[in-house]
Amino acid sequence: MSPIFQLKGAAVEYDGRLALGPVDLSIEAGEAVTIVGPSGSGKTTLLRLLNGTLRPTRGEVLAMGRPMSERTASELRALRAHIGFVHQDHALVPILRAGQNVIAGCLGQRGFWSSARAILWPQRVDLERAHSLLERVGIGEKLFQRTDTLSGGQQQRVAIARALFQDPQALLADEPVASVDPARGRALLELMTDLAIERDLTLVASLHDLSLARALFPRLIGLRAGQVEIDDAPDNIAEATFQDLYSLEGLRGGEVG
């Protein structure tokens, strides 16, 4: 198997302040990886490097074997069209119906008019596909319901279905369960890991909840002040290592934020 994502000495600076790296990292196709670490440790930055929405200040990021820096703007967009991204706050269109939000996953793959038509006047093919995806994430009956009338957990399921509508090769998730209560959060994450296996997806999810990360993912990456401190299977990691990850001591220049 070849790595789907690779970071080679990748570092990101914001206004001269080092936010991430330099990081060397390799994620194989089909792997399920979780990223944990205190807030401000660079989890979101790392995820944004993976789909090319952020360019590294130094070093190189490769997706599917090709460096991001070699891709043109339209090639980058074509790459992103096949990488799903689930955000903490759903990032849906509240005034559209759930099914329309799912179909909006086509925005990166079709032209403007064709995707506009697909979202505003859905055709039977798209609608049936959206319906079966909503069924898969457990809320098939919400197909025609206004998105802003759904609960937070249901909206996140719509967001997952939208990502699946892209028929993606990888699914990235930035704290996908941070705004859902713990029990529902666990169910959502289990859904995502199941989907990853079922569809042979690479899954990279940043998580705030350490116990969920340890329970559900075979590989755990621990970030601290922009550095990879842990990269192993959760079973191999000692309890003390986790405590070090979240302790405030030894952080460079008070980079807690």
Binding site: N51, T53, A73, R77, A78, L79, R80, A81, H82, I83, G84, F85, H87, D89, H90, A91, L92, V93, P94, I95, L96, A104, G105, L107, G108, Q109, F112, S115, A116, I119, R146, D148, T149, A163, Q166
Partner: protein, 284 residues
């Protein structure tokens, strides 16, 4: 640690004080006194008559000087409809101009990851300033002044009246729309960019719908203003409700005047109810 303030008055206090002083200076300059609100000699009688006519609603003509083509209520209804027709035409034109200009004037449109990047990057800011200046020019002349101008240039024609309203309204819509678009949550538009959507698609499907409840509420409010403006255009001879209102007023048929005013009030209240219902639907 909280640093001690260097001055007893903060910048905010000073601003409020300065504004109060400005208000006082303006009042003094204009010699504003409460006595200006007391009617003059003959004015008392007029005021009494006018206010006295408010309650008994006339459902028929009062004086004999009005041309009695239609029953009075039919005439009121027709003139109200004509007022609405002016307002709807002007507002449609203003929206047609104001919405795209609002997009182009917003900061979100010109962000580097939207249209302010790439080849356009060096001229993005000047372009935006140009558009905002253009919008300010549209707004800076009141619709009644445009109406006077057009009346002088083109004579009494309805197209000129509609355009007179549409120009400043388009400018105002563009300015407020651009601010609302910049305040709308950016998560959805950024998410759409993140899955490869074009800048335009991400703006239109990600940002615009998040601002839509605010945009439509404001458009409704402006429509209400447009109804008032087109009523006032009647004073220039357009046959909106203001035309008949002025005729009745100059004939001292105050009960007719009140009927027209009540008709306008009903119209605005209906609009208000409609706008509230629509907003409730959009906000969910």
């Amino acid at each position: 640690m909280v640093e001690p303030r260097p001055l007893p008055f903060g910048a905010r206090t000073l601003t409020v004080l300065a504004l109060m002083v400005l208000g006082a200076v303006a009042a003094w300059q204009l010699r504003l006194t409460p006595s200006g609100l007391v009617p003059q000699e003959g004015g008392w009688k007029l005021t009494r008559e006018f206010l006295g006519a408010a309650l008994p609603r006339p459902l028929d003509y009062e004086g004999s000087s009005s041309p009695h083509w239609d029953p009075f209520l039919l005439k009121v209804g027709k003139s109200l409809l004509r007022t609405l027709a002016f307002a709807i035409a002007a507002m449609s034109l203003a929206l047609l101009v104001g919405l795209p200009l609002g997009f182009l004037a917003s900061d979100s449109w010109w962000r580097p990851e939207a249209f302010g990047g790439g080849r356009l990057a060096p001229i993005a800011r000047p372009l935006q300033v140009l558009i905002r200046t253009w919008i300010a020019l549209m707004r800076s002349v009141h619709e009644l002044l445009w109406a006077v101008l057009f009346l002088a240039a083109m004579g009494l024609n309805t197209m000129a009246a509609v355009v007179a309203i549409a120009i400043p309204y388009g400018g105002t819509l563009a300015k407020v729309f651009s601010e609302m678009l910049d305040e709308a949550p950016r998560t959805t538009t950024e998410a759409f960019r993140g899955i490869g959507a074009s800048p335009f698609a991400a703006y239109l499907f990600g940002l615009f719908p998040r601002a839509l409840p605010d945009l439509s509420a404001y458009a409704f409010y402006r429509f209400e203003c447009a109804v008032r403006s087109s009523a006032v255009l009647g004073f220039f001879g357009y046959t909106t409700i203001g035309y008949h209102l002025e005729l009745s007023f100059s004939d001292a048929n105050f009960r007719e005047v009140w009927t027209y005013l009540y008709a306008l009030l009903c119209c605005v209240l209906l609009l208000e109810a409609w706008s509230t219902a629509l907003r409730r639907r959009l906000v969910g």
